[in-house]
Point group: C2
Chain length 224, copies 2
DNA sequence: CGTTATGGGAAGTTAAACTATCCATCCTGA
DNA sequence: TCAGGATGGATAGTTTAACTTCCCATAACG
């Protein structure tokens, strides 16, 4: 057991083996993330040695959370984190990337359907006073895709409730904003926005499932 | 152009080529889905010929929507649809499968963290009057995973808002239930529940993003 | 009755996300 | 100081998912 030098201080500069242990990932995987640029290189101590710190551990945990909980691909995580690091002008843009990454390659082919969806979105946005400038905004595109999918699957009735869901979305957004209020660092704001939405989407979806159980139990008031 | 027999009635029994066209998928892919059992076999017209109907088209569209919009893997789609077909006793169970499929393989390793998350969930459920019987329920497990991920990533503050999000989840669930009220066929109910939640999660997440743009614009009241 | 399509299955492909193996240093404990 | 395990860096190999391609014996069409 030749190694155990660092006195385990709170923000220790550790080497690969310990980073691997703290992060709960095999060394080979961490090396892979380094190669892919998802993880910044360690701090050099000699031409071919390096140390890693708590920032690396946090970064790895964020990567895994975005993948495992948020369902993003490693590639999308890379794009999102790169945008975060770059302090990309607006959170919207960064979140657009994540959104795009989640709602994978679904560009609607049927022109008529896309036209209908676009009109629906514009109407909704106007009713709620939402910004809806460019039709080719990533988020708008995603919404168009979702709307078309719901229609294709034959559940148009569901769209009658669009306004009701939109109102709820407004309340969620207000809540989300509280998490950002008072923070100045743009980079921090963007990271919070990413966590809040990517993980928060999942959180809300699970809570929704639990609430559905409560609701259906109350409604049917029999075995369930 | 040797074929064009069916008079294009509304619910025609078509053959592979036309099914492929209506569904917008290559023949080979449809054959693959048949092999995998995601699609029921066509109606035989001779020992090795078959016809397909609108049910097949709908099924394919559902599969694609669940994959592309809902982000489920083909395997998860298969499990979910099998459960739907089997008229699996409760919608909860079916949705649990989907939930599990979305929030991939994230079983928390750290015992202490899991214990904390479980306690948090139980408290929350009690406050809201939610059912929370078995700790090993798939949905509970998913929630535990999400909670741990949020904590690991260092955004504990986010969890202070758990109750606020839970309240919103309750309102969503009530809305969701409207879509099911009045339908008797259990199988239909389950399908609606699946569509409402898998596609509905995504719908809500996109609406949320749009609402966030509105909210942040209003809050910062400057460029963004 | 010759051409084209079909159902069915085996094998090949592509991409993502790792995992394994090398090897020339490096570092550490005896 | 020096032997042996660890490290950084790179290349090649693995595994799984989701298709695609290919093939062939049988069917259907004109």
């Amino acid at each position: 057991m030749p190694l155990e030098p660092s006195p385990r201080s709170e923000n220790a500069r550790v080497r690969m083996a310990e980073l691997s242990e703290k992060a709960g990932l095999p060394v080979a995987t961490i090396k892979y993330y380094l190669r892919e640029g998802l993880l910044p290189p360690g701090e050099r101590t000699s031409p071919n040695q390096a140390r890693y710190d708590d920032g690396h551990v946090q970064r790895i945990k964020l990567i895994r959370a975005l993948m495992e909980v948020g369902g993003l691909s490693l590639g999308t995580v890379g794009e999102v984190l790169a945008a975060v690091d770059a302090g990309e002008a607006s959170p919207h843009h960064v979140l657009g990337i994540a959104q795009q990454g989640i709602t994978a390659s679904r560009q609607v082919v049927d022109d008529e359907a896309r036209e209908w969806a676009l009109a629906t979105v514009r109407d909704l946005a106007e009713r709620r006073g939402w910004p809806c400038k460019s039709d080719d905004d990533l988020v708008i595109q995603a919404l168009v895709g979702v709307l078309c999918a719901i229609r294709e699957v034959g559940h148009d009735w569901y769209l009658d409730k669009l306004d009701a869901y939109a109102e709820i979305a407004d309340r969620i957004a207000d809540l989300d904003l509280e998490g950002i209020a008072g923070i100045e660092s743009l980079e921090k704001i963007i990271e919070i926005a990413v966590v809040e939405t990517v993980l928060g989407d999942r959180l809300l979806s699970v809570l929704r499932r639990l609430a559905q159980q409560r609701a259906s139990k109350a409604y049917f008031a029999r075995e369930g």
